[in-house]
């Protein structure tokens, strides 16, 4: 349980990046974004978190949105990246890459020291 809570804390910080990355692939609606995140292995991510993140990114002007009527259920609100969203994604990607590289080095150094 504690481990689950920790992982969701970590996830919160990178959810923006994850959602932007999913939408960069192709436009998508809320529930589909959630499904694709889970397919990528982010099982901990909550439905409300994805929905809230989408609304916030949209409010911040990073996403475009349009409604697609659906035969089988409710009409779907699709989200896609606009220029600002793509810029945010590339900036966040750089930050993330630098951060993970530094963290990996740190963790690897620790484990090799422990090992040898």
């Amino acid at each position: 349980m504690q481990q689950r809570a920790d992982s969701s804390q970590l996830l919160k910080g990178v959810l923006d990046l994850a959602v932007l990355a999913v939408l960069a692939d192709h436009d998508s609606y809320g529930y589909d974004v959630l499904r694709r995140l889970r397919e990528s292995g982010l099982n901990e991510v909550g439905d409300a978190s994805v929905y809230g993140t989408l609304r916030r990114l949209y409010q911040a002007g990073a996403l475009t949105t349009y409604v697609v009527p659906s035969d089988e259920g409710p009409h779907r609100k699709y989200y896609g990246l606009n220029d600002r969203g793509r810029k945010a994604l590339s900036e966040s990607t750089q930050t993330w890459t630098a951060l993970t590289a530094a963290l990996s080095q740190l963790l690897n150094g620790r484990s090799s020291k422990n090992g040898g």
Partner: protein, 308 residues
Amino acid sequence: MADETQLNDVATYAAAVRAQLSDLPPGQADVLLEDLEDHLAEVAAESGAPLAARLGSPAAYAAELRAAYGLAQEGGRRWRFARLARLGRWIAGFESYRAVRGYLPELRPAWWVLRAYLLVLALAVLLRGGRAIHPVPNPLSSLGLLEIVAMGVAVVVSVRIGRWSRRGDRGGPWPIAVGNVVVAFAGLVALGGMSTPDWNYGSPVSEPCCVRSDVYAANRPLTNIYPYTADGKPLDGVLLYAQYGQPLMVGGKGSGVTTQYPMGADGLPITNEYPQRQTRLDGSVVPRPRVALPVVAASPTPSPTPTP
């Protein structure tokens, strides 16, 4: 797919989530919850299980939404605001409060006039330069007259501002609200530091302002000064000033003697004009004392009728 039960489930669940977020400002709630129902319907369509079983309680869902949307959790500051709001509702429940609340807007023009008065009063106190300011300006003095004129102008401006800021929605622009508070505070401070007006101009003024001299004459406090010209003519209405230009006032008080100061055109007593007119308790005027004039060499005295 979306059968009746599912639609009901979605509506109930969404309503419960909305209720949890009812403390959000309307604009923010609209943006956040715009297509909550559609989204939940999508989730519900995925399987037959009730939403609460898949998504957790509406309260937990709302809390997660809040966090993801970047809003502060309910509690802490919000909790205190909620308490304040509850206190406000409790007060609003009283009949007498609602009655006052009802006629309060009618008093608005009165406040516009009052704030103009307080503003001029506060400015007058700031700029008085050592002179006493009274709550009711004296129209016979130049400063008082200036105050009255300034109050008239300020009232006109204040009413205009008031009418202008009330035009649109309720609540004027915030600089005016801040100004109101400042004027009210400064005005009350100015009023608090004031003495009551002294309308009885002929009466003795016991403690006027100004510099006192602690001069003693023959071991007794100085109570009056009698100037003479060099050739021994008594002078009246002589103004005396100390070395820095302050009006000179004798410090001593004769027992059973009151001093009447003449009034200046500005309505303030002239405390340094000598000899001072002093009366005893029985109303008799203190007479000029006999003085021993120095013997001076006879000099040509200016004569009003020069002889050719």
